[in-house]
């Protein structure tokens, strides 16, 4: 097993090559500092490629009444008043320039008849706002940024799994990673660090997220003493595929309902008329997701545990033209012709609103020289995310994080690293190579099943407590996992490392969910079904002195008076 390592230096190290990471790297490069990007998957394959619908920005090309204040109001209302108002303001103001900037980098968007960027409607946005390229917006964004990175003086190490950050005092000075395709261990020394590792959707069994969303960034940050916020807020997308089992959780885009698809139970009833007579299928994601969940729970679901989504009435030509990717997806994966048959769908874990707490204007964390942006960061989306806001989020805040990291890097020197720490980290990695090791995937399977069963869309104290018990048991089991063979491209090893990070996310999610004794946005408690005024607060998670997880509650920052005019006042029943 390897003992030695290679050291690489740069001004800024960006961990993660999704939209947020790449945009941050470009920002650092623009300011003339040397930057390295690392990612766990290949360059250009990050989770961001999966985004379909589009990127929200109040360009006002289709609905000229739209402007940043309306977008701002939408974010706060959908986030049920626990978002950071400052982040919401920055996003609403900056998103349009990020779209135009992408265009200047060579991204193409669909156009309006008069040649401007087309914008489509999406659940709970007041106006049509999503810039898009067919149903492949994420792909277009990631490819555009990827080629910027390739053509600029930016070094990237892909298939580099970062295991931990190295901290000296209250400052991050390095990061240790395994280059998976060679099996070499690397030490990255830098003056500033940006975490952009995306969410942790994979801690649930049924999820639309890609393989890499195991919450590594959250894990490594937490271990380094970074504060996490609102970890209980997990967005469920109402429509994920159900059958066949291999594709369970795979996203069925909101566009299907946007184009007129309706939801039916096995009795043939259009049940959304009951749950939301006005907005029906196009109500906010949490409302529709809960409705689907109820129907299935109360026995009006299909044998595979789903409800029907039906768009056949729109006709074959319309469907093939408007939803080509969905048509293909069902044809190829499920053998279902959606122009003739109904789709089977059920809620699936989609997005993490919670994550690393950052300062709104700079994306700084509470640990020095460390920044975070993208899905891994938290604050903007509050208790629920608006569709399409994530792509704007990763670009707007990715850029800000990169710029500020560059400033800090300019004014800092390279920190000293205690060689002992690196040795320990390598020892930790090597400790997983043992003949008698338990299979990490068995443990992961138990963990994800437990999360999906007990910390799902509708929660209660009993199940949450049960989940906590299982998690603490699995934590013990995690101490016994191991793998065989060589370090190079060893998935068993990755499983072991990821498991430790997943456990941190799970523990935080479950505990915060237990603490928040109300129902707000995506967080629903059957034992506390009402929204509670007392809970206009954020839950903060951090590593305690004693090595246990510590939780705290703090009130949401109050927005300045004039901003209150942009938002409907909150109502309690």
């Amino acid at each position: 097993m390897p003992e030695d390592y290679e050291t690489v230096e740069s001004d800024v190290l960006v961990i993660g090559a999704g939209g947020a990471g790449l945009r941050a790297a470009i920002a650092v490069n623009d300011s003339g500092q040397k930057v390295i990007v690392v990612s766990k998957s290949l360059l250009g394959k990050a989770h961001t490629v999966m985004a379909e619908g589009g990127m929200a920005a109040s360009l006002g090309n289709v609905d000229p009444q739209d402007n940043w204040t309306v977008h701002y109001g939408d974010i706060i209302e959908e986030g049920v008043y626990i978002s950071s108002w400052k982040m919401a303001e920055i996003l609403a103001k900056e998103a349009p320039s990020r779209v135009l900037e992408l265009e200047s980098y060579g991204a193409l968007f669909d156009r309006t008849p008069d040649g401007r960027i087309m914008q489509r409607a999406f659940g709970a946005h007041t106006y049509r706002r999503l810039a898009h390229l067919g149903d492949r917006t994420g792909l277009e964004i990631i490819k555009t940024l990827e080629h910027q990175v390739i053509h600029r003086d930016i070094t990237f190490y892909d298939e580099m799994y970062i295991t931990n950050l190295i901290k000296e005092g209250n400052r991050i000075v390095g990061a240790v990673g395994i280059k998976m395709n060679t099996g070499k261990i690397f030490l990255f020394k830098a003056k500033a660090f940006v975490i952009a590792t995306g969410g942790s959707g994979r801690v649930f069994k049924i999820t639309s997220n890609s393989w890499e969303s195991t919450g590594d960034g959250i894990g490594m940050a937490y271990r380094a003493g970074v504060k996490l916020r609102d970890m209980e807020m997990i967005q469920f997308h109402p429509t994920g595929m159900v059958y066949p089992p291999g594709v369970r959780g795979l996203l069925v885009t909101e566009g299907v309902r946007g184009e007129g698809g309706i939801l039916l139970n096995t009795k043939g009833e259009r049940f959304m008329l009951r749950y939301s007579p006005e907005k029906k299928e196009l109500d906010a994601r949490d409302v529709v997701a809960r409705a689907n969940y109820r129907e299935i729970l109360e026995g009006r679901g299909t044998e595979h545990g789903g409800v029907y989504l039906d768009i056949t009435h729109k006709g074959s030509d319309f469907i093939k033209h408007k939803l080509p990717a969905m048509y293909q997806q069902f044809m190829e994966f499920a053998g279902v012709d959606i122009t003739k048959e109904k789709m089977e769908v059920a809620p699936t874990v989609h997005y993490m609103m919670g994550g690393i707490e950052v300062e709104a204007e700079t994306e700084r964390t509470n640990v020095e020289n460390l920044f975070a942006a993208g899905e891994v960061a938290s604050g903007l989306h509050g208790a629920n995310r608006l569709g399409g806001n994530s792509l704007s989020d990763i670009l707007v805040f990715g850029k800000i994080a990169g710029e500020n990291a560059a400033i800090i890097a300019k004014n800092s020197d390279m920190g000293k690293i205690n060689a002992e720490k690196i040795k320990n980290e390598i020892k930790y990695i090597n400790s997983f190579f043992r003949e008698d090791g338990k299979n990490p995937y068995d443990v992961i399977d138990k963990l994800t099943t437990c999360m999906s069963e007990n910390v799902g869309i509708v929660r209660d104290a009993e199940h949450l407590k049960k989940a906590l018990e299982i998690i603490s048991e699995l934590k013990k089991e995690a101490g016994e996992v191991g793998t065989k063979g060589m370090i190079k491209y060893n998935h068993g090893l990755l499983g072991c490392l990821e498991l430790s990070n997943m456990l941190i996310s799970c523990e935080a999610i479950t505990n915060c969910a237990l603490m928040r004794e109300e129902s707000r946005g995506a967080h629903t408690r059957s034992d506390f079904p009402k929204k509670d005024k007392e809970w206009i607060r954020n839950i903060i998670t951090e590593l305690g002195e004693d090595g246990n997880m510590k939780f705290g509650v703090k009130p949401v920052d109050e927005m300045p008076g004039e901003y209150k005019n942009y938002v409907k006042p909150e109502v309690y029943s």
Binding site: L42, V49, P244, G246
Partner: protein, 251 residues
């Protein structure tokens, strides 16, 4: 259904330690609607965690899981087991150097991409840019490319010969910029001179395997070839272009 099993043959080799490749046999329980990636991952998670595979989205969107399945380059996550029978052979893409088992080194692709001049907007355009909705279509087809490299793998030029040819995936990339309505650069001559476009002999194998159904040969390669002819071989066209001199030509 649970009793049904599929026979999986996977190529195994770590070039650093193993002399040659070998095929190993595995039995995997069949699950309804399962794709090849499910089967391979079953092996990885239950039989041998050291089996190296590359995957990410499992939704045919990222282009990571390319491999040769029963002798055809395909995405593992998009190939349903019931469409190819229960005897399945999986080997890595042979056009790329092997890293381990099913994982290949595709980093050459970045080197090539770096050489192709990026999107460069025409000069003096009024902002915000306006594009007719119909003018988006040409480039949009190539924007579907998920960079899976299957077309590179099947292309006999890339696979069997030593040539300077960039390969179909990169021609698609170049075409996506060339045919961007507001792009001000013509890359065709460069592709022909440096990128070895002439080595492609229009055999259309790449078009057959593209999971995104891009008409690689008809819509990207042949138009680029025709443009290169305009600039390199056809005296009349060269004369006309010379007089007009609108577009910047690379090299």
């Amino acid at each position: 259904m649970a009793e049904k099993e599929i026979e999986l043959k996977i190529m195994r080799q770590d070039p650093e330690t193993d002399k040659g490749p070998r095929y190993e046999n595995y039995k995997v329980p069949y699950v309804d609607g399962m794709v090849v990636l499910d089967a391979v991952r079953y092996v990885q998670e239950h039989t041998d965690p050291t089996l190296a595979i590359r995957w990410n989205c499992k939704a045919a969107k990222c282009g990571s899981c390319s491999a040769e399945i029963n002798g055809m380059p395909k995405l593992m996550c998009k190939t349903r087991v019931d469409t190819i029978g229960d005897k399945i052979t999986v080997s890595p893409m042979a056009a790329f150097p092997l890293i381990k088992d099913l994982v290949t080194d595709v980093s050459k692709n970045w080197e090539i991409t770096r050489k192709i001049p990026m999107f460069t907007p025409k000069e003096n355009m009024e902002k915000p840019w306006r594009i007719n909705p119909k003018d988006v279509e040409k480039s949009k087809e190539f924007k579907k490319c998920i960079e899976c490299g299957l077309c590179m793998d099947v292309c006999h030029v890339v696979r069997e010969h030593y040539t300077p040819y960039f390969g179909p995936m990169h021609i698609v990339k170049a075409a996506s910029w060339d045919m961007h309505p507001l792009d001000g650069v013509d890359r065709s001559k460069y592709l022909n001179k440096e990128g070895g476009l002439g080595y492609c002999n229009i055999t259309k194998c790449c078009t057959e395997v593209c999971p995104e159904h891009i008409h690689i040969t008809d819509n990207a390669i042949i138009p680029e070839k025709e443009r290169a002819v305009d600039l390199q071989y056809d005296p009349i066209a060269m004369l006309i272009k010379g007089i007009r001199k609108k577009e910047k030509v690379m090299k």
